[in-house]
Subunit: 134 residues, 4 copies
């Protein structure tokens, strides 16, 4: 079974509230999709900051799992996010993560978030994952 299917199965079984679609994973990278609905919107019809943060966090999580496999208890230790443009309220948000470092204890990755069909990123994040001893 390939790594992507392994991750999708893990999420369905152990993390049903995950809420994102894993589109791609491998080579230290990932692509996740979030279907934007009314619940994600803020006044002014923009996607809320916490929703965008959640997509960045999920993309980083999937990219890390893609490298180290299904290791329980890998956790985000920090995330820095910049909100760049107001995303359209009727487009899915796509998060593309690229790991910058995969160490023994820490992984660092950057994530660009896009409103589908728009080449300019709506947000950019850099986060750190703590990898448990294994």
């Amino acid at each position: 079974m390939n790594r992507k299917q392994e991750i999708v199965d893990f999420l369905e079984r152990d993390f049903p509230q995950f809420g994102f679609i894993v589109e791609d994973v491998g080579d230290g990278s990932s692509v996740v999709r979030h279907e934007v609905g009314e619940a994600c919107l803020r006044p002014g019809q923009t996607v809320s900051g916490p929703v965008l943060f959640g997509i960045a966090d999920a993309a980083l999580y999937i990219a890390v799992l893609g490298e180290i496999g299904i290791v329980p208890h890998a956790v985000t230790t920090s995330m820095n996010i910049n909100f760049l443009r107001k995303p359209a309220s009727d487009r899915d948000i796509i998060g593309k993560c690229q790991l910058l470092k995969l160490g023994r204890r820490l992984a660092v990755g950057e994530v660009s978030l896009y409103a589908e069909g728009d080449p300019e990123p709506v947000s950019h994040a850099v986060g750190t994952y703590s990898i448990p001893a294994h």
Copy 2:
């Protein structure tokens, strides 16, 4: 009418999905409360990163509104969050924000998040708000 009531009324009217309780606001600071429920939890029974981010973002938003009043379109431009300890899954999370700067264009604030009753912070965030010309 005082500033806190003005903010609470604004949230009820224009931002019903806000989802946090404003406990205090004034002097460049705020306290908000989040009632932790099943939907907030991740595998391992810990409060999810996006939920913690959302509380930090809300506390900063309220502290800014407390200073500048109900100004539409003030938006978070960046947030840096560190996840310090795994919060208990059965305690409310309290976010305490203190503004570090309130400029004409930018406000910067720091937020400490606590699981109620525990003096050690579970997370710490620093964020920037863009204040529209007014």
Copy 3:
């Protein structure tokens, strides 16, 4: 006169302590070089964090000037830097910046730092510049 020469002349005239070589600028990006000497090193023969920060800050500054021209008083408002690998102590450090956003008031850019000849980045930074009204 082209933009790169205009920036180099400005730096020589008004900012002689700048201390970095502008290798390239344009299209929302820049490349700057820092010649590593003894003064930059920390115990363990690694390039110090503040020196790496300074290169990232300089690369962002040059990328911004490349877009908006010689505008006095553009200032860094925030920077988030991750130290990824220990750079060799005998290689120049190259900073490559790409702007993520150039707004009317704020520019946001990311910078990857490399020890010359090594394809893996030693550091990665994301910073924000405040652009004065002009």
Copy 4:
């Protein structure tokens, strides 16, 4: 011999280019002082960002050493800094660090920087230290 003297002796012996005065250390906190000279200034007579970053980094380093003792190879892994106000060019800069977490592998601390005599911070930083296995 007390911890502060131990750190000062270590710095003099092994890290003579440190460049900051350790004023206080203990209880997860530190105070360091930087004497501002011409070399630190940027056009507009403001203290440069890299110098402010260096003071924040030093204050975090000293606070960590104050807790774990003289452990070689503890290194900064990330730092997020906000530049809040233009410091006076003729005042020393004081960095005050408070650790937010001291774990087995990671320490996280926040640092406020002040121009001596001014109660408003000129900068605020949050950084992470990686603590080697020992």
